[in-house]
């Protein structure tokens, strides 16, 4: 271990001395660049700077290019000193600045232009946006950057052929690179569909790129309602649907367009239902009302289009029902309630019961029907003894019984 340390020490001292010597020798150095100070090379070519120098100078070469900078150490050969640029430097286009340094002083400097290649090996393409609206105003850009084998953009003014295929039409155009790239405008169409695009430069083609033309804003449309029967049974579903919604060019709107249906009933209450389009048609389902009603139905696509208004009529399903009192009027049974074909109504119709005294509701309750019947049991703990008015309401039909003793 100690021996190693000693060896290193000796070595270090030796290096220090040799360094000191070379600095001595470097004084008053006469360096001459063999090649031109302002030179240019084709990118990818090997770049070597050679200097003729008298004496034993300690030279280093600073360089910088588009991506970075560094220091090269020299190779000596007799009276010439040469610096070979690493491949990753000579493989990049642009300006290389170099400065020859001797003893911390810049003694010579120059520039090298790495000229771009004409040889296209690949073509980078960027297409966007990938969706456009049909019409005349929108457009996309196809940016193509033809590159050489070292990932440099090729020289300015390189031709790029852009092909656009849309249904049966095929359009080709030529653009030329400037500022490292070329771009072509891809105008939208009035017809929806897919535009396929590729770019070719020097027989090198890009892959196929596509952009979709979608229908533009929808035009106004029609709606219709479909019911299985006209009765207000609170059970069946009514189906609301639109006509095929299209834009002004006749393109069917994109699937998933959100359509809102607005229903105004006889009490001026508003009900909403919504749906999204499939093949231009949106549907929504909504329960029949509990009682006879006439709905005014309209529909709109927010901020873009609306439908005409239609009316849907519902007839009363329940025309009459029975109310019977038992257990000193504490037990009130309603039903069996029958519907439009004399069938028992489906479970779940809401029945309301109100106990009224002197025009004031002192107790109210509600229950859904089960097997066409509702049983209300009035607890004596809730209602004081006395004579009351009892009101029953279901399916919009109210029945009132006065002077019931509870």
């Amino acid at each position: 271990m100690k021996n190693f340390a000693l060896t290193y020490l000796v070595l270090a001292v030796a290096i220090l001395f040799s360094f000191g010597e070379s600095i001595e020798a470097g004084k008053g150095i006469d360096v001459k660049l063999e090649s031109n100070k302002l030179s240019s090379y084709q990118v990818g070519q090997e770049v070597v700077l050679t200097f003729s120098s008298e004496g034993d100078a300690d030279l280093a070469l600073f360089y910088s290019n588009s991506y970075g900078s560094s220091l090269l150490s020299s190779t000596k050969n007799g009276n010439t000193v040469s610096f070979k640029f690493p491949k990753f430097v000579s493989d990049k286009i642009g300006t290389i600045v170099w400065k020859l340094i001797n003893q911390d002083k810049i003694i010579e400097q120059g520039q090298i232009q790495m000229k771009p290649s004409k040889q296209v090996v690949g073509i980078e393409t960027y297409l966007g946006p990938i969706f456009m609206q049909a019409g005349q105003s929108e457009y996309g850009h196809l940016v193509s950057i033809p590159t050489d084998s070292m990932d440099n953009p090729v020289e300015t003014n390189t031709e790029v052929l852009v092909n656009q295929q849309f249904y049966s039409s095929n359009v080709s155009s030529s653009v030329f690179t400037s500022h490292l790239m070329s771009f072509e405008i891809i105008p939208t169409k009035t017809q929806s569909g897919r535009i396929s695009i590729n770019a070719i430069s020097e027989q090198i083609s890009s892959k196929e790129l596509t952009t979709e033309v979608n229908a533009t804003n929808p035009e106004d449309y029609e709606i219709k309602a479909k019911t299985n029967h006209p009765y207000a049974d609170g059970n069946q579903l009514a189906t609301l649907s639109t006509s095929v919604i299209k834009d002004k060019y006749g393109n069917v709107v994109v699937d998933g367009t959100f359509v809102k249906f607005l229903i105004v009933n006889k009490n001026n209450s508003q009900l909403f239902a919504n749906g999204t389009t499939i093949n231009g048609v949106a549907t929504a389902k909504i329960n029949h009302p509990n009682e006879a009603d006439t709905w005014k139905v309209s529909s709109y696509i927010h901020g873009m289009a609306k439908s005409s208004e239609i009316q849907v009529q519902f007839l009363a399903a329940i025309k009459e029902y029975e109310v019977s009192f038992s257990d000193s009027n504490k037990n009130i049974k309603i039903g069996p309630i029958k519907s439009y074909m004399n069938q028992l109504i489906p479970d779940g119709l809401n029945v309301q019961l109100r106990v009224i005294k002197g025009g004031e509701i002192i107790y109210k309750t509600a229950q859904p029907t089960s097997d066409g019947i509702v049983n209300f049991v009035l607890k004596s703990s809730l209602i004081n003894k006395g004579s009351y008015e009892i009101e029953v309401e279901l399916a919009g039909i109210t029945k009132s019984y006065k002077n019931i003793d509870l």
């Binding site: 910088s64 991506y67 560094s70 300006t95 490292l180």
Partner: protein, 505 residues
């Protein structure tokens, strides 16, 4: 014997008490520390911490690009990411590590950097660099907003090149780049970067009328109650106005004031501080005085990655004041030669050179100088400054000769003595060897020499002070105490004997 025992007893009891006190103090501080608990406001880490770290001067040329019209917000995003890319690149070349590069360069582009960095690491080369100015033009912006082509022209770059940690050379480059950036994962990343040409950095032109400094008769100024802290809360227009009136009536025409880098908010210059500085210049104008503004007081970092922040600081102050009638010129830094050793001359001199160039590029009409701490240093950067200035605290009899020598060395430049003076302090630390009369005598003689040699001057300083910050003189009393009494007016506001010689012998 009994006496001794008693003393011993008392001592033992005292020591016992002292130890107890210490233990109790220790326990109580521990308990109070444990009781402090977490700061609620910091529990969720909701505070936004954004420190400016890279602010080169960026100019966008008018938008006239092909493709889509670009909006301000996108432009700002591009600028931020693009500058971050430069910052990350500079840090990478300093350390030869690749952290962060993948955020700002696309997959293919980063290979170019990785290759270079691997090479540098192997060769033990490291580059400390920064870019100082960018002039950006949008050439093309794609319709989908995902691709932008830029030209960055006349990018000023400064690099120090090290091999085996030894400084080999420094390089200034002015280059033009063509760039293509892609928006990927929310970052604008560099895809192609091509330097199209490069040239030497030209010296900033100065149109300053320099001969006006030849008639300077001035004084360094701090208010009596806020030495080294002119722009604090106690900043009072009336006080300063009265002081300026006093200065004017004493036959002087210039004051030298100090803008402290941190006090003024570093790169984010505080508007209230700037307003006070402006007010001071307004008051100077009212009193027909000119002001030499000394920048970067108490700043001492000089590291290359700090340069852009320093520039931003200077830009804000210089551009705010450059049209002020009372402005005489800019003293870039007070006595930077004192940092040559601790911060290395190789760092300080390039910093000064750049800052001179930068200040001139913002304000070419006012002369720029550096207040060297002694006459020997005054030749440093003489080619860069518009006039030379130095401080003189040595023997008066040598001044004449040294001044003529300096004049020969910097023949084309005017020279101003921006600090001189002596303390009237008389006390323990100088064996009561000074007095106000001695100080008056000193100024009388000094003024005679100044007159003989026609040296424009600014003396140190108007007032005696009650306190001198430790950061100015250190804490040694034989340094601090004399510094309190360099004034022509004592701490009670009474003129000292020397006041008679404030502007002439």
């Amino acid at each position: 014997m009994g006496m001794n025992n008693n003393i011993l007893r008392v001592l033992v009891i005292l020591v016992f008490l002292l130890i107890n006190l210490l233990v109790i103090f220790g326990i109580s501080s521990l308990i109070s520390y444990l009781n402090t608990g977490a700061d609620r406001s910091k529990m969720l880490h909701t505070e936004i911490q954004k420190e400016d770290q890279y602010l080169p001067k960026v100019t966008w040329s008018a938008l006239n690009n092909k493709g889509k019209k670009i909006n301000e917000q996108t432009l700002l995003d591009i600028e931020n990411n693009y500058l971050d890319a430069w910052f990350i690149k500079n840090v990478a070349f300093k350390s030869n590590l690749i952290y962060g590069i993948d955020d700002y360069f696309t997959e293919s582009a980063r290979e170019n950097l990785y290759n270079q960095l691997a090479f540098n690491q192997e060769e033990k080369v490291s580059i400390e660099g920064t870019s100082l100015e960018h002039n950006l033009t949008v050439e093309f912006f794609s319709e989908d907003g995902q691709l932008v082509a830029l030209t960055d022209s006349n990018v000023i770059e400064y690099k120090q090149v090290f091999k085996n940690e030894k400084l080999i050379t420094e390089v200034h480059e002015v280059s033009t780049y063509q760039l293509i950036l892609l928006l990927e994962d929310g970052f604008w990343r560099i895809r192609h970067m091509v330097r199209t040409h490069s040239q030497e950095l030209k010296k900033a032109e100065s149109l300053a009328e320099v001969n006006k400094v030849d008639s300077i008769k001035g004084i360094n100024y701090y208010p009596r109650l806020s030495p080294w802290d002119t722009f604090n809360e106690s900043f009072d227009s009336d006080t300063i106005s009265a002081d300026f009136k006093l200065i004017k009536e004493a036959g002087l025409n210039t004051v030298r004031v100090f803008v402290q880098y941190e006090d003024f908010g570093k790169a984010k210059v505080l508007p209230e501080k700037l307003a006070k500085l402006k007010k001071l210049l307004d008051l100077a104008e009212e009193n027909e005085l000119k002001v030499l503004v000394t920048l970067f007081d108490f700043y001492g970092d000089y590291s290359i990655l700090d340069w852009t922040l320093n520039q931003t600081h200077a830009e804000k102050i210089v551009s705010a004041l450059k049209e002020h009638n009372a402005l005489l010129g800019w003293d870039i830094k007070n006595e930077p030669d004192l940092d040559f050793e601790s911060r290395k001359k190789a760092n300080v001199v390039p910093w000064l050179t750049n800052m001179i160039r930068f200040v001139k590029s913002i304000d070419s009409l006012h002369p720029v100088t550096i207040g060297w701490s002694n006459i020997e240093s005054a030749t440093e950067l003489a080619d860069e400054v518009d006039f030379v200035s130095f401080h003189y605290y040595l023997e008066l009899e040598d001044l004449g000769n040294l001044y003529s020598k300096l004049k020969k060395e910097v023949a084309t430049k005017s020279i101003v003595l921006t600090e001189f003076g002596t303390s009237s302090y008389s006390g323990l630390w100088n064996f009561y060897s000074n007095s106000e009369e001695d100080q008056a005598q000193f100024h009388k003689e000094f003024q005679t020499v100044l007159k003989q040699n026609r040296i424009p001057f600014m003396s140190w300083t108007l007032y005696d002070f009650n306190e001198v910050p430790k950061s100015v003189t250190g804490s040694l009393p034989w340094r601090r105490n004399p510094q309190k009494q360099y004034g022509f007016v004592d701490r009670n506001g009474l003129k000292k004997a020397s006041f008679k010689f404030i502007s002439s012998p």
